[in-house]
């Protein structure tokens, strides 16, 4: 499955990974091309396992992962072209920020001190670089880890939940940095379980649910699909049967179900219109609405819908 027309940099081909009887990733195939690609899915969907296989940290149970056409597992020379920031935020607390970036650079063949300065400057942490990492805030640690990931100027960046722990200001800063890096021609793959986060950053998106690739491609197309999905809305009123009879005639409503306890469950493909029409209808029929609540607004249900499509 390709995400756009460019030549793939990372190719994931029928990859599965299981741990004992637990299947973490099941027969996933896609390509990643230059630009920002978002790997989106709820917690426990298999994003991290997939990313770890794409960095060679974990082997596949089946299928292959290639980067620049070479197998990524047990291929250290390839790691020099990649920058990986794992989800684990643990750092060497005793080490100064600058020493950490320098060490990561040395391990990747960078001996130029200017490269260390550039990476630290890029994440705007020059003033804090002399302090031990243990004294940093969570957001600062993430930024210094990004500097260490960038110090050897990698062509590919793989970032697992990079915005975790960042405050809104840091988030914006981080997003600006990533856009800048992508504009320089890098391939950036970042994972997140937050829809809006990926929407703001990624040109293309890979949706992972229950270890399977649920959807992939342009984010706008997926957004349209999400907007078209039917919603279940729970409505509690003082006259459920009367309200049900009236509601079912609305154009925004596909179906109405009245539970034995008098609760209405309304199925609608146009929740926006329903939000406007329902109060009006209740008011004209002199019915009191006690509770109106979307039943499937969670990320899991959104993903679940896309999987079933």
């Amino acid at each position: 499955m390709t995400t756009n027309g460019a030549a793939p940099v990372i190719r994931v081909d029928h990859v599965s990974r299981w741990f004992g009887s637990v299947v973490a990733v099941s027969d996933v195939t896609f390509d990643v091309t230059p630009g920002i690609t978002g790997l989106l899915g709820p917690n426990g969907a298999g994003k991290t396992t997939l990313l770890r296989m794409m960095t060679g940290l974990t082997g596949t149970s089946d299928g292959t992962v290639t980067v620049f056409g070479e197998p990524v597992r047990r291929n250290p020379p390839l790691y020099g072209r990649m920058g990986v920031m794992s989800e684990h935020e643990t750092v060497y607390g005793f080490m100064k920020g600058r020493d950490f970036v320098r060490m990561m650079g040395r391990l990747r063949g960078v001996t130029d001190e200017a490269a260390v300065d550039k990476a630290i400057g890029f994440v705007d942490l020059a003033d804090a670089a002399h302090r031990p990492l243990g004294t940093y805030s969570r957001g600062m640690r993430q930024r210094m880890r990004l500097a260490a990931t960038l110090v050897h100027d990698p062509e590919i960046l793989i970032l697992d939940e990079p915005l975790n722990g960042a405050d809104p200001r840091q988030r914006v800063h981080f997003q600006t940095l990533l856009r800048q890096l992508a504009a320089e021609g890098r391939t950036i793959l970042l994972s997140s379980h937050i829809l809006e986060e990926v929407e703001q950053l990624a040109d293309t998106v890979l949706l992972i649910v229950n270890g399977k690739l649920a959807a992939s491609g342009d984010f706008r197309a997926i957004r349209v699909a999400l907007d078209e999905r039917p919603y279940h809305v729970l409505v509690v009123s003082d006259s459920p049967r009367e309200l049900a009879a009236a509601v079912v005639r609305l154009e925004s409503v596909d179906a109405v179900n009245v539970d034995p306890d008098g609760t209405l469950v309304v199925l609608s493909r146009n929740v926006r219109d329903l939000q406007i029409e329902l109060p009006r209808l209740a008011q004209s029929a002199a019915i009191s609405l006690r509770r109106v609540e979307p039943l499937d607004d969670s990320l899991e249900s959104v993903f679940g819908y896309l999987v079933e499509r």
Binding site: T58, H88, M95, L107
Partner: protein, 237 residues
């Protein structure tokens, strides 16, 4: 390799770890001094069995090394920082070797000082004998380090398995089952000591020098290769 060596040196030099190591390393010196200060001081052979072999080479040295060497990778695995190293474009041996050297460099001086003082006091300030004891213990530290670095990579229960090995294999079986000595680091260590000072330890029941060298190289090199292989094939957390 230098960045990984320096990093590991710093990781293994925690205050508490060094304090406990110092206390452990002091033990053979205290026991040795007490034994030789009695009126019926033990013979060279008895002292070797009671202190050098059983306490120094068979218990304290492996315990100190276990605490240090098993942490060389285990700490990184537990903290999930090992990926910082394994994602570097360098061969795996360039990660294992500096970590092993760092473990030897941290544990070695403690055990060397302990061994020298124990030998010095036990053998009436005989420098050559003290140096022989020291060199033998340092060889033992290197062999145990190689084994325990691998154990720290292999399992998250390295301390538990390591203790079992020290108590059962080096302590119990190698003392009472003759054949086991052929596979005991403790006895390789003692054999090196005999070779380093053939004058004082002449006539002791011993392995041949050739066997000692081959066995030591096999243990050190074998576990080093196993560690490299393990790092190459394992799933890095």
């Amino acid at each position: 390799m230098l960045p990984i060596f320096l990093l590991t040196l710093r990781q293994l030099s925690g205050k508490w770890r060094l304090t406990i190591m110092s206390l452990l390393a002091l033990l053979p010196v205290v026991v040795g001094v007490l034994m030789v200060s009695f009126e019926d001081a033990p013979s060279v052979a008895d002292f070797e069995i009671g202190v050098l072999s059983s306490i120094l080479a068979g218990a304290i040295s492996p315990l100190v090394v276990l605490a240090i060497a098993s942490a060389a990778f285990a700490n990184e695995i537990e903290d999930k920082t090992l990926a910082n190293l394994t994602l570097a474009p360098i061969p795996r041996w360039q990660i294992v070797v500096p970590k092993l050297l760092a473990a030897i460099c941290v544990a070695g001086p403690f055990m060397a000082i302990s061994a020298f003082l124990t030998g010095y006091f036990a053998y009436s300030a005989d420098i050559r004998a003290a140096l022989a004891v020291t060199a033998a213990v340092v060889v033992g530290v290197a062999l145990y380090s190689s084994a325990f670095v691998w154990l720290g990579l292999k399992t998250t229960r390295a301390i538990g398995y390591g203790l079992l090995y020290i108590v059962l294999w080096e302590g119990f079986f190698s003392s009472f089952v003759m054949g086991v000595r052929l596979f005991s680091v403790r006895y390789f260590s003692i054999a090196w000591m005999h070779w380093f000072d053939a004058r004082r330890f002449a006539g002791f029941d011993d392995f041949s020098f050739g066997f000692t060298v081959v066995a030591s190289v096999a243990v050190f090199g074998g576990f080093l290769l196993l560690s490299i292989r393990r790092l190459r094939y394992m799933d890095v957390p």
